[in-house]
């Protein structure tokens, strides 16, 4: 069979298998409705609460986008500093890792303490969550610049700035975008998590995370899963946008980008 057709058909088949398994939980094993809503019930809940969920999704999108963009810029700046010298890397990498290992749920109360409930805190949490993959990937790309190319710049006696802008940054571009892809999937999750723990009705609806906590308290489980479904869609949109930007900017640059896209 045609490979292209298979690539479309197989996910559909997989989806049908999973849906079948889901429905069989109620109809074969007799799970009660309140324990696990069925897919059509989730769609019904989503349609019923579309105004509320839509407004919350928009709120979350803004926070996630702001957090993501600051991570994209901050991560790049941090990578530039780290890549500038081995000494700086050795001095600070362990602490960067420690910060990454620290559960955000522990940091969240402090962030709320400093910048209050609402969007500010949510953006900061989103930033922290999506910052690391950008830093780690970009630094790795800059540091692993092909030795032959570095020697070429040695022979020409290039300045430090010339090396960064003409060599290391372009070389690291695909690595940067690999980091951005991961960040793009983390940013909506980070924002929703932050809304869940820090959000309030203060500035608008409070986003999907806040809505999730409300639905949870009211035991509206189909609505809760409708929020989950919306989050997934949001994550996919983020990823798709980054993939498109990546393709647009790097299409003609690196063979590795094309190879990666082929998967």
């Amino acid at each position: 069979m045609n490979g292209r057709l298979l690539r479309w058909l197989l996910p559909v088949v997989g989806g049908l298998v999973l849906l079948g398994a889901w429905y069989s939980l109620r109809h074969v094993f007799g799970q009660p409705a309140w324990l696990l809503p069925m897919p059509h019930e989730i769609i019904e809940a989503l349609t019923r609460e579309r105004a509320l969920i839509g407004a919350a999704a928009w709120q979350t999108t803004q926070s996630a986008l702001l957090g993501f963009l600051s991570a994209a810029l901050g991560g790049l700046a941090c990578a530039l500093v780290l890549a500038s010298s081995r000494a700086v890397r050795l001095a600070f990498t362990p602490y960067l890792l420690i910060l990454q290992m620290t559960p955000v749920i522990v940091l969240a109360p402090f962030i709320v303490l400093w910048s209050g409930r609402g969007m500010g805190s949510i953006v900061i949490v989103t930033f922290i969550v999506s910052f690391f993959p950008v830093v780690v990937n970009t630094t790795h790309g800059m540091v692993s610049t092909d030795r032959g190319l570095v020697e070429l710049f040695d022979v020409c006696n290039a300045s430090r700035l010339q090396r960064i802008f003409l060599l290391h940054l372009p070389y690291a571009a695909p690595f940067y975008f690999a980091g951005l892809r991961i960040a793009a999937t983390l940013a909506p999750i980070g924002a929703i998590f932050a809304e869940y723990v820090t959000g309030s009705v203060a500035g608008g609806t409070g986003g999907l995370g806040f809505l999730a906590s409300v639905f949870n308290q009211r035991q509206m489980r189909a609505e809760l899963l409708a929020v989950a479904l919306t989050s997934c869609v949001l994550g996919f949109v983020f990823l798709a946008v980054i993939a498109a930007v990546n393709r647009l900017l790097l299409r003609r640059w690196h063979a590795s980008v094309m190879a990666h896209d082929a998967h």
């Binding site: 092909d146 032959g148 190319l149 020697e151 070429l152 710049f153 040695d154 022979v155 020409c156 006696n157 290039a158 010339q162 003409l166 060599l167 372009p170 070389y171 571009a173 790097l250 003609r252 640059w253 690196h254 063979a255």
Partner: protein, 279 residues
């Protein structure tokens, strides 16, 4: 291969004896007792004496690890000598001299830049303005016959084409000293022959001094006016063989009896140098 050309080259292209007192003044590149070791390791190079006049074409040949590439790196000041003295134009070499160019074994092209922009890289680093960069790059593209791929990206080119871009990039700075570290080693023999002939054609017009590291005896003899045979541990020159064939040299040289005899002779010297080490 006219007699007139042979006469021209012989007067300025032939190896001069080291003992000559005017060696320093007449040499473009001069090495006196040069040694190199990395850290506390064994000597990579020891007691290198060499004088190369302007316009000379010297090939370095020897087993792996004999320090051929290191000689080039020392002359380009990419790495300091541990002993002895190196003079280029009568002065110790400085890294990044505008009239010294390096061609590496790999084409080392920037994959995100099209061919012409790649050729312009050294000029860009040296702050040459855009119009002048484009003019000189166009000239080089003509020289290596790659005008038709000026907008292509490196990954769209064959190995031989990439290497020609690399040669063009080295020549775009109008170097007086060209250091080549096995530039054609990764290419198939046909392509290598073509590039050898092109390199000599370009040299007819440009007249730089050349150091050429290679593993191929035939390539060394075909290109240079002097072949230095090296041995390893420590790296040193064991034979200094003048190549008497007049320039310009064409592919017909490879068919000549004298050419083959000289290749055999150098190959024997190379083997003798290796056996000396293993003994």
């Amino acid at each position: 291969m006219s007699g007139r050309d042979a006469g021209d080259r012989d007067s300025e292209g032939r190896a001069r004896p080291l003992a000559e007192p005017s060696a320093a003044a007449a040499s473009h590149v001069l090495l006196r007792g040069v040694g190199k070791r990395f850290g506390d390791g064994p000597s990579v190079l020891e007691g290198l004496d060499l004088a190369v006049p302007a316009g000379g074409f010297v090939s370095l040949i020897g087993p792996s690890g004999c320090g051929k590439s290191t000689v080039l790196r020392l002359i380009a000041a990419l790495s300091p000598a541990s002993a002895g003295e190196i003079l280029v134009d009568g002065r110790p070499p400085r890294r990044g001299e505008a009239d010294v160019a390096f061609i590496f074994q790999e084409p080392t092209l920037l994959p995100w830049l099209p061919v012409q922009a790649n050729i312009e890289v050294p000029l860009r680093i040296r702050g040459v303005d855009r119009a002048e960069r484009a003019r000189r790059a166009a000239e080089m593209l003509r020289l290596v016959r790659l005008e038709h791929v000026r907008g292509h990206y490196p990954r769209e080119l064959s190995g031989g084409m990439k290497m020609r871009v690399s040669v063009a990039r080295a020549l775009v700075q109008s170097p007086r000293l060209l250091l080549m570290d096995e530039p054609f080693a990764a290419l198939d023999e046909m392509t290598r022959h073509h590039l050898n002939e092109e390199l000599l054609e370009i040299r007819e017009a440009e007249r730089w001094t050349a150091f050429f590291v290679t593993h191929s005896v035939a390539e060394a003899v075909f290109l240079s006016d002097r072949v230095l045979v090296m041995a390893a541990r420590p790296g040193r020159i064991v034979a200094d063989v003048p190549v008497p064939f007049a320039y310009p040299r064409g592919p017909d040289l490879r068919a000549r009896r004298e050419f083959h005899d000289l290749v055999d002779h150098v190959a024997r010297l190379l083997r003798a140098g290796e056996q000396e080490v293993t003994r």
